[in-house]
C-alpha cells in the first residue's frame, strides 16, 4: 500500500500507483483526480476535485466526464487526446470554467494500455485551503 503523501502531480509512475488506490485513498490526494473508464464515464471523483468544481461526487459518478460533467474539455486538446491514443501522459495548461468562472489549471492526461482506467489530474496554480 502506498502512502498517499508520496503521490505528487508530476510523479513519474503516477498512473500505475493510482490504479492501486481506492476511493478513500484518492480523497487523501491533494490535487484533483478523475478516474474514468476507457469510454470516459466517471468511476471515481476525489474530494479535491469535488471542492474545485463544486460538484457532488454522487452527481458525477457514472456520467460521461467530457460530455456531461466538464464539456469545456470536449475538444481536440483534451477529450480527443484520450480517443486518439492508447498510451497517454501529457501535461498542459488549461482554463476550466468551474462555477462559470474561468480558472487556470494544469492538467495531466493519463492512459495506459494495460489499465481499465484513464485519469485526468487537475492542479490549480493557486492552492485554496
Amino acid at each position: 500500500m502506498h502512502d498517499k503523501r508520496d503521490i505528487s502531480f508530476g510523479a513519474g509512475e503516477v498512473a500505475g500507483v493510482l490504479d492501486t488506490l481506492g476511493d478513500r485513498d484518492l480523497d487523501g490526494v491533494e490535487f484533483g483526480v478523475v478516474r474514468m473508464d476507457r469510454g470516459g464515464d466517471v468511476v471515481s471523483y476525489n474530494m479535491a476535485e469535488s471542492r474545485l468544481s463544486g460538484l457532488d461526487k454522487e452527481a458525477v459518478i457514472g456520467q460521461n466526464f467530457f460530455v456531461q460533467v466538464a464539456p469545456c474539455t470536449n475538444n481536440f486538446l483534451v477529450s480527443q487526446r484520450y480517443q486518439d491514443s492508447d498510451e497517454l501522459d501529457e501535461t498542459l495548461e488549461y482554463v476550466f470554467t468551474y462555477r462559470m468562472v474561468p480558472t487556470p489549471v494544469r492538467l495531466r492526461l493519463l492512459k495506459r494500455r494495460e489499465s481499465h482506467y484513464q485519469y485526468l489530474l487537475v492542479e490549480t496554480h493557486v492552492h485554496n485551503d
Partner: protein
Amino acid sequence: MSEHDYQQLLQFLYRVPVGLVEVDAEGNIQLMNAYAGAALMPLAKTSQSQNLFDLLRPYAPDLQRYVAGYDHPYGEIVSNERVQLPGAAGASETKMWYSVTIERLSVDSYMVALSDVSAEVEREERLQEAVNQEAEQRGRREIAASVLHDIGNALAGLSTHVARLLGEPGWRELTELRRLQELVENEAEALSRALGAKRQEALSTFLQELIANFEKRYDELKKTTNDMARTLEHVSETLSLQRQYAQEWVSGSRAPVNLVRLVEDAIAMQRSGFEKRSVRLTRNFCEGTVLVEGDRTKLVRVFVNLLKNALEAFDTPEGDNEEQRWVDIAVERVEGADTPLASVTIRDNGCGFDVPPESLSVSPSGSEQNTEKPGGSGMGLHAAKRIVEAHRGWLSLSSEGCGRGVTAVITLPRAEEIS
C-alpha cells in the same frame, strides 16, 4: 435560493449548447460556460489567456473596435457576425463557423454569445456553388446558341453571293468571242483575200480554241459554285438543326420525342461524312412514330456520336477494303419483359474490333481496345452510354472481328403512344 436550486441553475447555464461569455470593457473573461470554454480554449495555444479580444483577434480583428466604439450604456453591439475558428471538436485542422453576438449589459459588462453555424454555412456554400454552376452552364449554352446564330447569319450572306453567281446568265466575254467568231466565219472569203488563206484559217482555229478554253473554265467554275452551294446548303441545314437543339438545351425541355425524327436529324448532321467517304446508307425504319421520353438534345448527340464512330471506322487500313462501304440503320419497336421498348441499330462494315463484346467496357479512360479507330479515346462512347443510361436505356456494341464491322444497339423504354 437553496444550494440545490443554485447548483441546478449553474448546471443549466454551464451546459447550455451555446457559448456564453461575460467580459469587461477590456475583454477580460468574468464568466464563461462550458461550450464557450471548449470553443475558445484551443485558440489560446500555449498561454492561458483569459482575454476574449486577445483570443479572437486573429480570427475577428474588428470585435474589439466595435465594442470600444459603442457609446450607449447598454444595447446590442454585434449581431450574428460570422467568425471562423479552429474546430473545437475533432481534429484541430477542421474549421468551424460561429455566429457571434455581443450585447452591452451595463457600463463594464458585455455578454458574448457564440453558436455553431458550420452546418448552415456549408449548406449555403453548396447551394451557392450549385447556383454558380447552373449559371455558368446556362451561360455556355447561351453563348453556343448565339455563336450558332451568328454563323448562320454569315452563312446566309455567303449563300446569297453564291446564288447570285449561279444566277448569272454567263460570261459576256464568251458571248462576244462567239460573235467575233461568227463574224470571222461570215467574212471568211474577204479575210482570206486580205490576209491570205493560211492566216485566215489560223485566226479561225485560234478563236475556236480560245472559246473552247473559256467554255471549259466556265463549266469548271459553274461546277465548283454548284458544289459550294450544295455544301453551304448542307451546313445551313446542320446549323439550323443544331440551333434548334441548342435552344432546347437552354430551355431544358423533356417531352416525348419521335425516335425516327431524332435518327433522321442525326443522319442529316452527318450527311457530309457519308458523302465524303461514299458510304451507302440504308434505312429500315418501322412505320409511324416511335415515341420515347427524354432530352432530344442529348439523345441526338448519342446518335450523332455513334454515326460518327461508324463513319470513322472506314478511315483505317482495316476499314478501307475494296467492298462497297455501307451503314445500315434500323429503328424498331421491341416488346420488353414488362415495358414496351424501342431500339436503334447502327451496323457498319468498317474496321470492327477483335475484343469480345463482353469485355468492351465503355470507360472514359478508353484504352485502345475500347475504340475502333486509332487515336480515338472512347470518350464519345462513354458520354453516349451515360446519356442512354440516364434515359433508363442501355447501349451495346458488338463486332464479329477485325475488319468485319460493328453493330451498335441502343434500347430505350418506349413512351405510351397517344391515340
